[in-house]
Structure formats: C-alpha cells, structure tokens
Amino acid sequence: ELEWSQIRKEKLPGVISAELRQIMNLQEGQLPPWYMKMQTNNNSNNSGAGSELELPPGYPGFKIAGINWDITNLKGETYGKLVTSKQKAND
C-alpha cells in the first residue's frame, strides 16, 4: 500500500484509477454515479431546466466532462479536472 503522503499527491479529483473502477464497477469513459446526486432543485436561475448541478464546494472551478467541460474529455480514467485560478477553464 502506498505511503499516505504519496497517495495525497497522486490521487486527484477527476481521475479514477483502473483499480478503483474495477471494484466500483465503473467502466472507463463513464461518469461516476455521484454526479446524478449533484442535481439540486432550483428554479431561480436562467437554465429553465428546473434543476442544476451543485458542484463540490471544496473544489471551486471543478470541471466535469459533458457537464461544464467538453464531453470529449471523458476518456480513459479521466472524467473531470480541477482548474486552479491560475489556469483557464478551457485549456
């Protein structure tokens, strides 16, 4: 098992390893199941859809492929990307 400090450095939001995908039964190129629960009812905005996504409060600027990031980024082990304030949202 990896050292804790190494885990913290290597495991990042937006990428799920093949190892974890296997035990959670998530194919590569699939969105993880919790994105369905990010929906929140809110009619006050201009989306008109009646619900919108509540993205992780701990990750301002988090991008999820097919939602607020180009769907073509959904490939392999990657489904999302943490965009820091220094980077552009659409690299």
Binding site: K11, L12, L20, I23, P33, E54, G58
Partner: protein
C-alpha cells in the same frame, strides 16, 4: 492516529468490504471533497478492516455535501457504502433512541 480531531467535520462510512484499502477510500472520497484525514480501523489481532471508517473534511459545507452525494451512491465489491455525519445530534438535543 485513529482519532478524529473534529467529529463535527467527520462522516461515518459503513458497509465497507474488508478488501477495500485506505488508499481506495481516499481516492474515492477525494473526488467530491478535499480530505483532512481518514481513520480506517483494523482488528489488532486479525489485521482485518472492521467494515467502517471515519473521514474528516475541512469545512461543514464539504461534510454536508459528501453525505448528500455519497450516501448509498457507490458500491465497492457490490456493497453500497453508507455515509452519514459522525455527529448526528448536538449534545444539547439529548435524543433517545
């Protein structure tokens, strides 16, 4: 090391298959929130995991969000993880169960 420094910011994760590693729990929950620490107790004699963990986050918003999006959402080895706040009630509420 297995003590949570702030139970108010912690969640209890239950129904964990004993084959799940601490690294896998970290990788899973870091998807939805930055993680402060994880306590994943092992039986001292058998060296097997006990089926539950406590994960601590940095803010109440993070903690509430994790419960909202992760309870009964992910199955590992076909067992759905149960996620709830470690501190269910304020001490003053004095609920009986």
């Amino acid at each position: 090391n297995s003590q949570m420094s702030n139970p108010e910011l912690s969640v209890y994760v239950g129904n964990i298959d004993p084959n799940v590693t601490k690294a896998q729990l970290y990788e899973l929950f870091v998807q939805v929130s930055p993680i402060s620490k994880i306590a994943y107790p092992k039986d001292k004699l058998l060296q097997t995991h006990q089926g539950y963990a406590f994960i601590e986050f940095y803010t109440p918003e993070d903690t509430n969000y994790v419960v909202k999006v992760m309870n009964n959402t992910v199955s590992l080895y076909d067992r759905f993880l149960k996620v709830r706040k470690s501190v269910q009630n304020l001490p003053s509420s004095n609920n009986k169960t």
